[in-house]
């Protein structure tokens, strides 16, 4: 447990001396309605220990039953990752003692995973244009999540040194899939970016398959990041495993800082030890956890309370045939259809806006308008609230309605923003926000003319200028009218009325 900060080497120097090899183990909670081995609900955020039963608390005598939807989701994920699907495989028990484990063993898969030997292509932007990396997938398997521990007292937030700890078993038994890559060599200085792009693409894939909503802030996707370094042409070095890296940004930073740490260690004559490390979001660095050299022996053996999983060939082919379009293919299609650049598409992807924009376009909104709203107002609002675009209160139907009202001249662009402000704040749907806020375009000539008269009276010198033919001065009067009508007038209409009144033409 070294508390002191490790030495780091400058990143550019590090990757000029060493070739990094990375590997990722990603755990994702599946979006099933019930848990992996019982019928308890999986909803996030419920009061502690209210979504539990004898099975997921591991009471004596209770027995697991496999969730068929979880098996199906795993097979679909495996197929989407180009894996082989086992015709027969078993669950295994991973034995170790920990208070968040109701049975003191986790039902997982060991040497007989459901999916093996696949790959996922990821694209990363480089100075020489987009570059494709094929990430080889070792395996995809099913397991159950553990409970969640909260440690009180002490200053570490960890079990060691805490005054007491609380366990919430709502999470125990939530279905997880673990996706393990083979070692990924050859990414060089791009290693952190490739790692991030891979996790992002996995997330896109799971969402497109509908097997998980992958809400990273709820901890539904967690990564273990493996890094080792080698001098060019030499055998791979010893790897470290940084646990529980829970955001895309953290994945990138964890690889980055581990390359800096290991290279500093190796060039100063030290050696990398095989260990698990803890990543800290605040510093972007990791500290040493337990050494793998005194690793626990998990005593895996086939789970005797469950029968083997043996998906039929017909079922697998049926699932393969019903897979949705792969995210990469979808991006290429939309980019072409919308006529946008690589950079613009990359920005949409990075903002997680592609799906909602596609939905909005499908609902009937012009693509540029859909992009404008989602990438502008909405992206800002989501960022402020620290949530994802899809979690905002605004729905594609709202944009359809607002765009229609703008088209009819019933809303100005500025008013449309106010409407969405209300929708995002939960004031109701588009029409009720308009009604409540009284957002009506002032198109009644009489009241506009009155406002124009008032403005002209207040600025007689400007009125003089316009009347004498200096049309460009009209802006000051239009501005004053707009201000007086709180932006609810149509500026073009105000201008036309003003010029007509003063008898001048453009």
């Amino acid at each position: 447990m070294s508390a002191h900060a490790d030495e780091l080497m400058d990143y550019d120097q590090a990757v000029s001396l060493f070739d990094p090899v990375i590997g990722l183990e990603t755990h994702v909670e599946l979006g099933t309605n019930s848990k992996m081995f019982c019928s308890c609900p999986t909803e996030f955020g419920a009061e502690a220990n209210t979504q539990i039963c004898p099975v997921c608390v591991g009471l004596p005598g209770s027995m697991p039953v496999v969730n068929a939807v979880a098996v199906e989701s795993t097979i679909r994920m495996g197929l989407a990752l180009n894996c082989d699907i086992a015709s027969w495989c078993r669950f295994a028990r991973k034995n170790y003692f920990y208070p968040d484990m109701p049975k003191d063993y986790q039902i997982s898969q060991y040497d007989e995973p459901l999916c093996t030997d696949g790959y996922l292509d990821v694209i990363v932007p480089t100075d020489d244009g987009p570059q494709v990396f094929r990430i080889e997938i070792e395996r995809v398997h099913m397991e159950e999540d553990t409970g969640k521990l909260t440690h009180s007292g002490g200053d570490t937030g960890r079990i060691h040194g805490a005054d007491y700890s609380l366990v919430d078993y709502n999470r125990a038994g939530i279905p997880l899939i673990e996706i393990v890559t083979k070692p990924i060599p050859g990414t060089g200085a791009l290693a952190p970016v490739v790692a991030r792009a891979y996790v992002a693409e996995l997330r896109n894939l799971m969402r497109s398959l509908g097997v998980s909503n992958v809400r990273m802030e709820e901890g539904s996707l967690r990564c273990d990041v493996n890094v080792s370094l080698a001098k060019p042409g030499e055998p791979w070095g010893t790897r470290s495993e940084t646990k529980n890296v829970n955001s895309l940004r953290s994945v990138e930073r964890a690889v980055h800082s581990e390359i800096e740490r290991q290279s500093a260690l190796l060039t100063s004559g030290g050696r990398v030890i095989q260990e698990t490390r803890h990543f800290h979001e605040d510093t972007g660095r990791s500290t040493s956890g337990r050494s793998k050299e005194q690793a626990e022996d998990y005593r895996y053996f086939p789970e005797p309370d469950l029968v083997p999983v043996a998906p039929s060939l017909e079922w697998i082919e049926q699932l393969r045939a019903s897979l949705p379009e792969a995210p990469a293919a979808k991006r290429a299609r939309l980019q072409e259809s919308w006529g946008i650049t690589d950079f613009e598409m990359q920005t949409l992807v990075n903002t997680d806006a592609l799906d909602v924009i596609e939905e909005t376009v499908a609902a009937g909104v012009e693509q540029s308008a859909a992009r404008k709203w989602w990438m502008g107002e909405f992206a800002r609002s989501a960022k402020e609230q620290g949530i994802e675009l899809s979690q905002l209160r605004v729905r594609p139907a709202d944009i359809v309605r607002v765009e229609a009202l703008i088209g009819e001249g019933a809303l100005t662009d500025k008013m449309a923003r106010q409407v969405f402000e209300g929708v995002l704040a939960g004031e109701g749907d588009v029409d009720s926000v308009i009604a409540q806020r009284g957002l009506v375009v002032v198109s009644d000539d009489t009241s506009l003319l009155a406002a124009i008269d008032e403005a002209l009276a207040a600025q007689p010198d400007v009125a003089e200028k316009i009347a004498s033919g200096k049309v460009q001065a009209a802006g000051a009067i239009v501005g004053a009218v707009m201000k007086a009508t709180q932006g609810q007038a149509d500026a073009a209409k105000v201008r036309a009325l003003l010029l007509e009144k003063l008898g001048v033409s453009e």
Binding site: P54, G61, S62, M63, V65, D104, I159, R299, D305, V307
Partner: protein, 502 residues
């Protein structure tokens, strides 16, 4: 049977009691009271029960009487009292598995077996004693003291389900539920002169059965005669989606078979490997007589060989401890049961260790250590892996034998009931008690133990084991019923009637 007035209700069979209750000759409440009184009278000496649930038992009995009064149809065993092995959960009733580590735990749910008993209106009297977590063959490994054999209170009633067999043999209940991982229903039945059946693995749901070794455990019926055993078997068997290893198929007609005992034309195999060295002379003598009896009844008895049975005990004592070491991990003091060492000075790992040190008895610790070792990295293939291969070979031995014969027979246990204390410090001697019953669990077959007489040298009961292929449990009852009828004809009564008065 006629009017039961003036007869001791506790001496009756379950089917007789059920008939009398449904005919209104006697109330279920009277039957339950009679058994509760018998328990109060003899159990201080026998110690079959760990917990007697008088109030709930009487309430359940009154419920049966009310049903009858309303004219509702009653099940075949409605109102009959039963003793439940303390390894099956029953909502709100203490379940200890004979261990200190579960002292005070009241499960919040019913096991499948208990649900089925309730559906059948069977009256559960209480929970019976057992070797801790079903590890043992004598009930001496119970944390709550041994149960005594009603035939001789100085002797063991078998194990692990000695409480259930003793309760029946002592006329404290006409029915009991046992569980059998390596012989824990059959060996106690053999040494107490009662009947016990281990159904086909998967025949009775394990949901709510606290696991010893998941791939071997099976709950089953215990009674004093074959028909009662069959009626109870039918009440608890059948598919349960909560147990993935539960067989989704029709339950064999065990009651029909018990009512039509007939072995004419049957081929019966005598297992060569389950005799000879280690088998008591009187046990072998009674077994030979049973073979002659079967031949006399029209069966063809031939000798068959199961060469890999020789390795069964060794394989069993790797597979069982391996699974048990994992199944028993959850008893860590965190969620229920005993917690020791939580005085603010110990870490969570230390509290777990202190709790397990304090809560488990020596036999449980021995097997957890054996299992932990056998599953350890570097030893797995040599121990657990090899044991699984033996298991496959034993299953093949059975398959081959069953191409020649309809059922197999052997003595149930190599000896009659031994003295309390005689083997408790010699694990290997204790383990050898199950040498004839263990192969059945490894292969998942169905098997029965049936009393066939008293060994001449000690006057204690001897059991006949009958083994049938998976999902042909009815064959056990067909053979068992034929043997029982012939012996009752010979003796004028069931063997259990010869047990000394308590």
């Amino acid at each position: 049977m006629g009017d039961l007035m003036g007869h001791d209700l506790t001496r009756q069979s379950a089917s007789t009691l059920a008939d009398a209750i449904s005919q209104g000759e006697v109330s279920a409440e009277e039957v339950t009271k009679a058994h509760l009184e018998r328990i109060a009278e003899v159990d201080p000496r026998v110690h079959a029960f760990l917990y007697v649930d008088s109030d709930d038992a009487l309430a359940a009995a009154k419920g049966v009487d009310a049903k009858r009064a309303r004219g509702d149809r009653l099940g075949a065993l409605a109102g009959v009292p039963l003793a439940l092995k303390d390894i099956l959960t029953m909502k709100g009733v203490p379940t200890t598995c004979g261990s200190k580590i579960l002292e005070g735990w009241r499960p919040p749910y019913d096991s499948h077996v208990v649900e089925r008993l309730r559906t059948s209106d069977i009256v559960i009297l209480g929970k019976t004693n057992m070797d801790e977590f079903a590890m043992g063959s004598s009930t001496e490994h119970s944390a709550y003291g041994p149960t005594r054999n009603p035939w001789d209170l100085e002797r063991i009633p078998g194990g692990s389900g000695g409480g259930s067999s003793a309760a029946i043999a002592a006329f404290e209940a006409p029915l009991a539920i046992g569980t059998d991982t390596g012989g824990s229903i059959r060996q106690p039945a053999a040494v107490t002169g009662t009947v016990g059946v281990k159904p086909t693995y998967g025949g009775v749901s394990r949901y709510g059965l606290v696991a010893l070794a998941s791939s071997l455990d099976q709950a089953g019926p215990c009674a004093r005669n074959v028909l009662d055993t069959a009626l109870l078997h039918a009440a608890i068997a059948g598919h349960d989606p909560r147990d993935s290893t539960s067989i989704n198929a029709a339950v064999p007609d065990v009651v029909g078979a018990a009512l039509n005992g007939d072995v004419r034309g049957m081929r019966i195999g005598l297992v060569r490997e389950l005799s000879g060295a280690g088998y008591q002379a009187g046990v072998e003598q009674r077994f030979r007589e049973a073979v002659e009896l079967l031949e006399g009844l029209g069966a063809e008895v031939i000798e068959v060989s199961c060469p890999h049975f020789e390795y069964a005990l060794g394989a069993y004592y790797l597979i069982l401890p391996s699974e048990a070491s994992s199944n028993l991990a959850r008893f860590d003091g965190m969620r229920y049961g005993l917690r020791a060492g939580d005085d603010g000075s110990h870490s969570v790992e230390e509290v777990m260790a202190i709790t397990r040190e304090a809560g488990f008895g020596p036999e449980v610790k021995r097997r957890i250590m054996l299992g932990t070792y056998a599953l350890s990295s570097g030893y797995y293939d040599a121990y657990y892996g090899q044991a699984q291969k033996i298991r496959t070979l034993i299953t093949r031995d059975f398959d081959a034998a069953f191409t020649q014969v309809d059922v197999l027979i052997s003595p149930t246990a190599p000896t009659t009931a031994f003295k309390i204390g005689e083997k408790v410090d010699d694990p290997i001697a204790m383990y050898l008690n199950d040498v004839a019953t263990i192969p059945v669990n490894l292969a998942g077959n169905a098997a029965m133990s049936l009393p066939i007489g008293l060994a001449p040298e000690d006057g204690l009961p001897v059991g006949l084991q009958i083994i049938a292929p998976p999902m042909t449990d009815d064959r056990l009852y067909r053979v068992g019923s034929a043997v029982e009828s012939a012996l009752v004809d010979k003796w004028g009564q069931l063997l259990i009637e010869e047990a000394p008065a308590l």
